[in-house]
């Protein structure tokens, strides 16, 4: 039993990503979409906390949203994986529930 969490807000603008990570359990997945993809960026004040949570939780970004915002996947924190919409659907199917952090 595990949860797919989705986050669609920039972590520089709102607390949604941090709150999500504080409630995610080992084995859960966090998919960053829309403005949420900025959460995957390396070299920011958030990188350390993301590295820490990444040990227990699988971290994903929605690649089309990353590309729209002009961010090269090379900028992503190590361990953050890009998926397309089909991959999003697979993550929804694979986990027992989806929880949106709006």
């Amino acid at each position: 039993m595990s949860t797919l969490h989705t986050v669609n807000k920039s972590p520089f603008a709102t607390q949604a990503l941090v709150s999500c990570l504080n409630h995610a359990k080992a084995g859960d997945a966090v998919l960053m979409i829309e403005d949420g993809v900025y959460g995957g960026l390396g070299g920011t004040g958030l990188t350390e906390i993301m590295d820490e949570f990444g040990k227990n939780v699988s971290l994903y970004v929605l690649s089309p949203d990353l590309a729209a915002r002009g961010l090269d996947p090379k900028r992503l924190i190590a361990g953050v994986e890009g998926v397309d919409y089909a991959g999003f659907v697979d993550l929804v199917a694979k986990h027992d529930r989806t929880q949106s952090w709006l």
Binding site: T3, A16, S19, H23, K25, R97, Q99, L102
Partner: protein, 135 residues
């Protein structure tokens, strides 16, 4: 899977600044008729929805705080409030309204529906849900 699903209503936003708190409550009231296992979670700014003494006379909006107190009559028995979210906002359980329900398994005794729990326990509540509706 049994016929009854566990519905979790996740409330993370303050009241009045946006309509989400009010329209979430409208879903809960309608949903109560479906005889599912219903829980409400109040996390982050969502805990502000339950503060005592709300008075909206000065802003021209409807005060929907009393509707929370009526939830017990709709047999909604579980309002989980995160302790850390309260503390970060300088609030304690005393600042919250009372919501009670009558426990049919215990001679219809009135019991508090609001349960202040830790963040870790809140994570367990979330992980136990079949359907999470986020507002």
């Amino acid at each position: 899977m049994s016929d009854v699903k566990k519905f979790l209503y996740l409330n993370r936003r303050a009241p009045y600044g946006t309509i989400y708190a009010l329209e979430s409550l409208e879903v809960v009231l309608i949903g109560a008729a479906f005889e599912q296992d219903v829980s409400l979670a109040f996390v982050d700014d969502g805990v502000f929805q339950l503060t005592k003494g709300q008075n909206t006379d000065g802003i021209g909006m409807k005060n929907f705080s009393p509707t929370f107190r009526a939830l017990g009559d709709y047999d909604v028995q579980k309002l989980f409030v995160e302790r850390e979210s309260l503390e970060e906002r300088g609030l304690s359980e005393d600042d919250l309204i009372e919501v009670v329900y009558e426990d049919e398994d215990d001679d219809w005794e009135e019991k508090p529906a609001i349960r202040v729990i830790s963040r870790a326990e809140m994570a367990d509540v979330m992980a136990d849900a079949d359907v999470v509706l986020s507002f």
